[in-house]
């Protein structure tokens, strides 16, 4: 069956790409710096005996291929090393932070896609009018905003000046919440500014993609047929136009995960949001190499897996793809 074969091919591709990322990671952190012990040794004055023991421990006295296999084995068993800053296993630190980033990105992604698509649809429907031009120009303008600077401006205007929303962290510290509802409200209040930053900066892409895709679709024959059948404008638009225009939107959504990673790093840094983005920034600042390595790997693998999920989604939505 075409479907199974497609799936099989995709699985192989994903596996290969993941392996490529892992290998690339190995190259970045173990081969490129010249001597990984040098990186670890930067953390403290090591005596020659200590260095020898470390080499033995990490299998660095072996040849490169063997080191690579040791590296793969460690990864497979969930051993991502010890953080130099916290002196704890890296996995433990990652586990604490991932949830926070997922919460932030989930909120932002949902809003970006929904608002972006709706505005894009409206712009396409009113193509050529001032609403359309305004949407396009605004989208391009917002796309040009640096994420971190937008965050700073929001802190300045909505946080410091108008005192409307909290400007850091994911919750009010040291507070005992009266109820789960109170905690949710507090969390939501802290979520507003970081999410707003991401939404502002990323919404433009979805507006433009939706708009151009829909304009394409609206010129196709079956739309003319629908109109000829007497369906109203909005019915034509929403029931026939939009669903067929969604494919590129889905592609962009998949790519968005890759793009929003960069945004997450900036937003989490500016708003002190305790997630993965801030973790990679803090660990780079301290040159905590085991932590940097693991965080980068998580980011890369997440993007790859999201792309894979999108491919599966495609397969389900668009039968033409299966037989390609």
């Amino acid at each position: 069956m075409g479907g199974l074969r497609y799936l099989g091919r995709k699985l192989v591709q994903v596996a290969l790409t993941l392996l490529a990322v892992v290998t690339f990671n190995f190259y970045l952190f173990h081969v490129l710096p010249g001597d990984p012990i040098k990186l670890l040794a930067r953390a403290g004055n090591l005596q020659p005996e200590d260095i020898a023991r470390l080499r033995e421990l990490f299998g660095l006295d072996q040849s490169l291929p063997v080191q690579y296999l040791v590296y793969l084995r460690d990864l497979a068993t969930g051993n991502l090393g010890m953080s130099l800053t916290y002196r704890q296993p890296v996995v433990d630190i990652l586990a604490e932070r991932i949830v926070n980033t997922v919460e932030l990105l989930a909120a932002a992604t949902v809003l970006v896609i929904i608002i972006g698509v709706v505005v894009g649809v409206i712009a396409a429907a009113r193509r050529g009018t001032r609403v359309d031009t305004a949407s396009v120009v605004t989208s391009l303008l917002f796309w040009s905003l640096p994420t971190f600077w937008t965050g700073l401006m929001l802190i300045f205007i909505l946080g410091v000046w108008l005192h409307a929303f909290p400007i850091s962290g994911s919750g009010t510290p040291g507070v005992v919440y009266a109820s789960l509802g109170a905690q949710v409200v507090d969390f939501g209040a802290h979520l507003v500014l970081p999410t707003l930053t991401l939404v502002l900066v990323d919404i433009g892409q979805f507006v433009l993609i939706t708009r151009s895709s829909l304009i394409d679709v609206l010129t196709e024959d079956f739309i003319l047929t629908a109109r000829a059948k007497g369906l109203s404008s909005s019915q034509v638009l929403w029931r026939h136009g939009v669903p067929n225009a969604l494919l590129p939107v889905i592609t962009t959504s998949a790519l968005y995960v890759g793009l929003v990673v960069g945004g997450a790093i900036q937003v989490e840094t500016v708003f002190s949001w305790p997630g993965m983005g801030r973790l990679i920034y803090d660990s780079v600042l301290r040159r905590d190499y085991p932590l940097i390595e693991a965080t980068f790997l998580v980011f890369a693998m997440t993007v790859i897996l999201t792309n894979f999920a999108t491919d599966l989604l495609y397969m389900w939505i668009d039968p033409r793809v299966r037989n390609a």
């Binding site: 930067r42 004055n45 200590d50 130099l84 604490e96 962290g169 510290p173 840094t269 500016v270």
Partner: protein, 569 residues
């Protein structure tokens, strides 16, 4: 506190401990007797009567910019960890709000006639936070653990320890090979033997102690890494009255400006470490009081004067005239004005001005400060002139006076000072190539004692104790490989150090320490730029009864402010 470097050594030790390797210990300076009373006197410090704290349900929230590295009090070097753990663990003695010794676990103590032994009489009503009673066995265990394994930052205070005796569960006798000027009982936290003795010393080195059990006024609550750390009041604490704050939460901020905003919005009650510009922004805010206190710290420029043949440092820096010329080129007052926004004093000697009894203020006519004309004169006279009109002076055989300058990228005041230093040096014809590094790399480069490959750095020191011996002991010959960051070695200086170490009379001792400070200053291995003020700010509408202590209301040698503050209503 002691620098990062030792912390990082422990980090690597932790990694190697996983494989059963041992880390190398760092030699410690010997502490001389100070103006204590090593006769058979009894020391019973009494707490000054004050308004008594009563347990409240109000939380105390503190903002900070760095997190602790671990909850293990015996292996940490992080100032933040020490600040938190001083509330979880008790010591035999502690500093009070006047930075004088007060009793803690030891209700009284006395010295032997020869001054080499101290007998501590412990309270008998102390229990650990898990219910077990605290006895002299715990004290003996802790001191022996630190001493026998050279464990952590407190090991340097126990180098002269010869024995720990426990004649009964409420008595501990510490015996040293020589009278100790600095009593280590003031800083060493006591850990529970019934929990820790189950581990080998190696295991302790990498022990994270994620749920610390102590005997102190606060119990460990939770630590959300990257966000906040909370302690809750230990209502079974032996001390009376019980502290007011029901809980203490330290909140981590990624940025000092945001932290200042948090104070203004009431998200935190106090911020104990504020950068100068943020501090100035808080001065006229309603319900916020800003406090500036003298600190026991300085920031300095260090010149690599190592005579090790393997040293990669530029040998020209071993010329006194070049170092002194660089000292003359800098206007320390300008550094204070621009980098600290005026919140500090120009620096001179190695003993911080906050130690008012011991600091030597170098007389103005002997100061190597802010005289570029003199610098140029000195360099000209020594034969370092700009022969090829490049703007940079050369030696007679053509070597340029060009040096590498390193600073920690994330320490803004150091980067500021480095830029200004570059300009100042350029104005007298010396080129400095600035590179900013992360703290770990800089520390490792500087302290690579086998072959230090750097020329000049910008860094800082916090005095580990309120006694001059700490800072004076840094440039000793036997501290090369230890704290000696510029590889200074002067037998005469070392002899004076050992002399003041055995001088009991404070007047006589001060004469020697003054001489040492003068000597070290004129030899220009350090350029002490400034003594920064400790800048703190707190809300006036949540907690009151703060005592301003030199060195800071918090992040100081005393924890008593936590115990004495009262709700503002």
């Amino acid at each position: 506190m002691i620098r990062w470097r030792n912390a990082a050594t422990v980090a690597v030790a932790a990694i190697m401990a996983v494989a059963g390797c041992s880390s190398s210990a760092t030699p410690a300076p010997t502490t001389p007797p100070s103006s204590g009373t090593p006769s058979a006197s009894t020391g019973v410090a009494s707490a000054a009567p004050s308004v008594a704290a009563t347990p409240s349900s109000q939380p105390l929230r503190i903002g900070w910019l760095n997190e602790p590295d671990t909850m293990n009090p015996l292996t940490t070097y992080s100032t933040e960890a020490v600040e938190v753990l001083q509330l979880v663990y008790d010591k035999l003695l502690d500093y009070d709000l006047s930075l004088k010794p007060e009793p803690e676990l030891a209700s009284s103590y006395e010295y032997s006639t020869d001054g080499k032994s101290i007998t501590f009489h412990l309270r008998t009503d102390v229990s650990w936070q898990d219910g077990q009673p605290l006895t002299s066995a715990d004290v003996a265990y802790t001191y022996n653990l630190i001493h026998d394994n050279q464990l952590g930052q407190y090991a340097q205070f126990l180098t002269d320890l010869t024995s720990v005796q426990t004649p009964d569960p409420a008595t501990v006798v510490l015996t040293f090979s020589a009278p100790q000027a600095f009593d280590p009982a003031l800083v060493i936290p006591i850990v529970p033997r019934h929990i820790w003795s189950a581990m080998t010393a190696k295991a302790i080195e990498s022990f994270a102690n994620s749920t610390p059990i102590g005997s102190g006024p606060y119990k460990f609550g939770q630590w959300q890494k990257g966000a906040s750390l909370t302690l809750t009041r230990n209502d079974g604490w032996w001390g009376r009255p019980l502290p007011s704050p029901a809980s203490v939460t330290w909140v981590l901020y990624g940025n000092s400006d945001v932290m200042g905003q948090a104070l203004q919005s009431g998200e935190v009650d106090i911020v104990p470490q504020v950068p100068p510009t943020v501090f100035d922004g808080l001065t006229n805010v309603a319900n916020v009081k800003t406090v500036s206190l003298p600190s026991f710290s300085f920031h300095h420029i260090g010149f690599n004067v190592s005579s090790n043949p393997k040293s990669g440092g530029n040998p020209l820096l071993r010329q006194l005239v070049i170092r002194q010329a660089l000292e003359y080129s800098v206007d320390r007052n300008q550094l204070v004005q621009l980098c600290l926004a005026g919140h500090g004093q120009p620096g001179d000697s190695i003993v911080p001005a906050g130690l008012t009894d011991w600091h030597l203020a170098i007389p103005p006519d002997q100061q190597l400060n802010n005289d570029p004309a003199k610098a140029k004169q000195m360099l000209d006279a020594a034969g370092y002139t700009d022969r090829d009109n490049s703007g940079i002076r050369e030696t007679p055989d053509g070597k340029k006076l060009e040096f590498r300058l390193i600073a920690i990228a994330t320490t803004d005041v150091d980067v500021c000072a480095a830029h200004l230093f570059q300009n100042a040096a350029a104005a007298v014809g010396i080129k400095l190539d600035l590179q900013t590094l992360d703290a770990n790399t800089l520390g490792n480069d500087v302290y690579n004692s086998a072959a230090p490959n750097w020329d000049i750095f910008v860094w800082g020191w916090d005095s580990g104790t309120p006694d001059p011996s700490y800072m004076l002991g840094v440039p000793l010959c036997d501290q090369i490989g230890g704290n000696n960051d510029v590889y200074y070695c002067d037998k005469q200086y070392d002899a004076l150090y050992n002399q003041q170490a055995t001088t009991i009379d404070p007047v006589a001792r001060k004469q020697i320490t003054d001489q040492m400070q003068q000597m070290y200053y004129q030899n220009a291995a350090y350029l002490v730029m400034w003594y920064q003020d400790k800048l703190q700010a707190y809300r006036t509408d949540t907690w009151t009864n703060w005592t301003q202590v030199p060195g800071g209301m918090m992040f100081n040698f005393t924890r008593d402010n936590y115990l004495k503050i009262l709700p503002a209503h």
